[in-house]
C-alpha cells in the first residue's frame, strides 16, 4: 500500500503523485510500479506507471507521473478523485531490462510522456558524482506540454519542440532529427528510448542513421494501454 502525500500538476494533462510506501522498496531508475484500484463489488483495474523519482536512500517514497487519458479508466480516477491522504494499492518495482544503474554512459530519448522513466535516470545522474554520464533529448509538441519544465534545463538536456517552440529557442519547431541526437551521444552509451510506438520507431531509425547499433538500444513503448 502507499499513501498519496503530494500531488503536483506538471502540465494541463499530467500530474505527479508523491507516494509514501508502507513497505520500503528501492527501485532502479527505469522501473515501474503497478497501481490497482478495487471497486466495492471487487472489480479491479490495474495499470503500470513508470517511477519518475530517482532511487531514494530511505526507499520509502517514490513519485509517479500520470497523464490523464480521455477515456482512461485509472488515469481519470487518479486525476479527478485522488487527494493527498488517500491510500492506493501498489506493487513493484517491476522491470529489469529498461533500467539504468547510473554507472555507465547513457543517451535518454523521450517523446511526450515517455520522459517519465528517463526523468528517474536524469535525477539519478544529477544526484551522483557521475552527472555527465546521462544525456537527455526530449521531444515534445510545445512548451506547455513539457513535464518537469523548471527542473530540466541543464547542459546535458536538449528539448526539441515539434510544433511550437519558445521565441528564444535556437532550434525551430520540427520533428526530431538525427542531428538532434548526434551531439548527445557518448562513446559506448546505452540508448534508452521511451514514448509512443510511432516515436520509438522514428527514433530507432534516426539512431541507425548515426550508426548506433540496435544491440545498444532499449525501448519502452507507452500508449493508452501499456
Amino acid at each position: 500500500m502507499a499513501t498519496v502525500e503530494e500531488i503536483t500538476q506538471e502540465t494541463a494533462s499530467a500530474k505527479s503523485f508523491r507516494l509514501a510506501l508502507s513497505q520500503p522498496s528501492r527501485h532502479l531508475a527505469g522501473q515501474h510500479f503497478l497501481v490497482r484500484l478495487t471497486a466495492p463489488d471487487g472489480y479491479t483495474a490495474t495499470r503500470s506507471y513508470s517511477v519518475a523519482s530517482a532511487p531514494e536512500p530511505s526507499s520509502r517514497h517514490l513519485e509517479i507521473t500520470v497523464e490523464r487519458l480521455e477515456d482512461g479508466e485509472v488515469s481519470s480516477y487518479l486525476h479527478d478523485v485522488v487527494v493527498p491522504g488517500d491510500k492506493l494499492e501498489v506493487r513493484g518495482p517491476v522491470g529489469g531490462f529498461f533500467v539504468w544503474r547510473g554507472d555507465t554512459p547513457a543517451l535518454l530519448v523521450g517523446g511526450g510522456s515517455g520522459i517519465v522513466p528517463l526523468m528517474a535516470m536524469l535525477r539519478l545522474a544529477r544526484m551522483s558524482e557521475h552527472r555527465g554520464l546521462a544525456r537527455l533529448v526530449v521531444s515534445v509538441r510545445s512548451p506547455s506540454e513539457l513535464y518537469y519544465a523548471s527542473e530540466l534545463p541543464g547542459p546535458e538536456v536538449v528539448v526539441a519542440y515539434t510544433r511550437e517552440a519558445p521565441t528564444c529557442a535556437l532550434r525551430p519547431p520540427g520533428h526530431l532529427a538525427a542531428s538532434d541526437l548526434q551531439g548527445s551521444v557518448l562513446p559506448k552509451a546505452t540508448v534508452f528510448v521511451c514514448g509512443s510506438s510511432g516515436f520509438a520507431d522514428h527514433v530507432t531509425s534516426l539512431l541507425a542513421q548515426i550508426d548506433i547499433a540496435p544491440e545498444r538500444t532499449r525501448v519502452e513503448r507507452f500508449g493508452p494501454t501499456s
Binding site: G42, A45, V81, E89, F97
Partner: protein
C-alpha cells in the same frame, strides 16, 4: 481486501466474461510493445528451426513452411499489461505439425522460443502441443506487419502474449525450464492469464 475510495469501475457493467481477471477489452486497437527495436527481416533469408531434444533437427525456409498443411486461430489474445483483444484471426501452421516432423524425445518437457532479435521466452512443452500453439504469418487475412512480429511469430493465445514470440526463428526443446528474456526480468515462467500469472511469484 478493502476497496479504493471513490472508485466505481466505469466499464464493469459491460464486462465480458471472456476477459481474464485484471484485463480489459482494448477494442479495435492493437498495441505494439517490445523491448528491442523493430528489426528488418526478409522472407528470402527467413528460416524456422526445431532443435534440441528431438530425433532430428528440422529447418524450414519460407517456401517450405508454406507447403505444410495450414492452420488458423480465431479468438482472443491477452497482454500482461492488461489489454485483451477479441476476434483476432491469425493464419499459419500448427506447432503440432512442426513438432511431428522433428519428433520430440521422451525427455523433452520444456521449450525455449527464440527470435532473430535475441528475444527468448520459455514454456512447458505441454503448452505448445494439442492445438494450443501456432507459427503464424497472416493477420486478419493480410501478411503480419513487422511491428507485430512479421514475417512470422509464435502464437500461444492461451498464455499472456509475451510468450507469443515475435520474429520467431525457432523452438529449442529441453528437459528443464530455462527462463527467457522477460522471465529473467521478473515475469512469470508460465503466464496463464486466468490464474493471473503475470510476475515471478504469482
Amino acid at each position: 481486501m478493502s476497496f479504493t475510495r471513490g472508485f466505481e469501475g466505469r466499464r464493469r457493467k459491460e464486462r465480458n466474461p471472456g476477459l481474464p481477471p485484471g484485463q480489459y477489452d482494448v477494442g479495435s486497437d492493437w498495441p505494439v510493445l517490445s523491448a528491442e527495436p523493430t528489426p528488418e527481416l526478409s522472407t528470402a533469408s527467413w528460416s524456422f528451426a526445431i532443435e534440441g531434444l528431438v530425433r532430428q533437427s528440422v529447418r524450414w525456409t519460407w517456401e517450405e513452411i508454406h507447403a505444410l498443411p495450414p492452420a488458423s486461430y480465431e479468438g482472443a489474445i491477452h497482454c500482461v499489461t492488461t489489454w485483451s483483444k477479441f476476434g483476432v484471426r491469425f493464419g499459419g501452421v500448427s506447432v503440432d505439425t512442426l513438432l511431428a516432423l522433428a519428433e520430440p524425445l521422451p525427455a523433452a518437457s520444456y521449450v525455449v522460443a527464440y527470435s532473430s532479435t535475441g528475444y527468448t521466452t520459455n514454456l512447458p512443452l505441454g503448452d505448445v502441443t494439442g492445438g494450443k500453439a501456432f507459427l503464424v504469418w497472416d493477420y486478419d487475412g493480410h501478411p503480419l506487419e513487422v511491428g507485430h512480429g512479421g514475417p512470422a511469430r509464435l502464437l500461444v493465445p492461451h498464455l499472456y502474449f509475451w510468450k507469443s514470440a515475435k520474429w520467431v526463428a525457432g523452438l529449442r526443446l529441453l528437459d528443464h525450464d530455462e527462463p527467457g528474456f522477460w522471465e529473467v526480468n521478473g515475469y512469470h515462467d508460465r503466464g496463464d492469464p486466468w490464474l493471473e500469472q503475470r510476475y515471478q511469484g504469482d
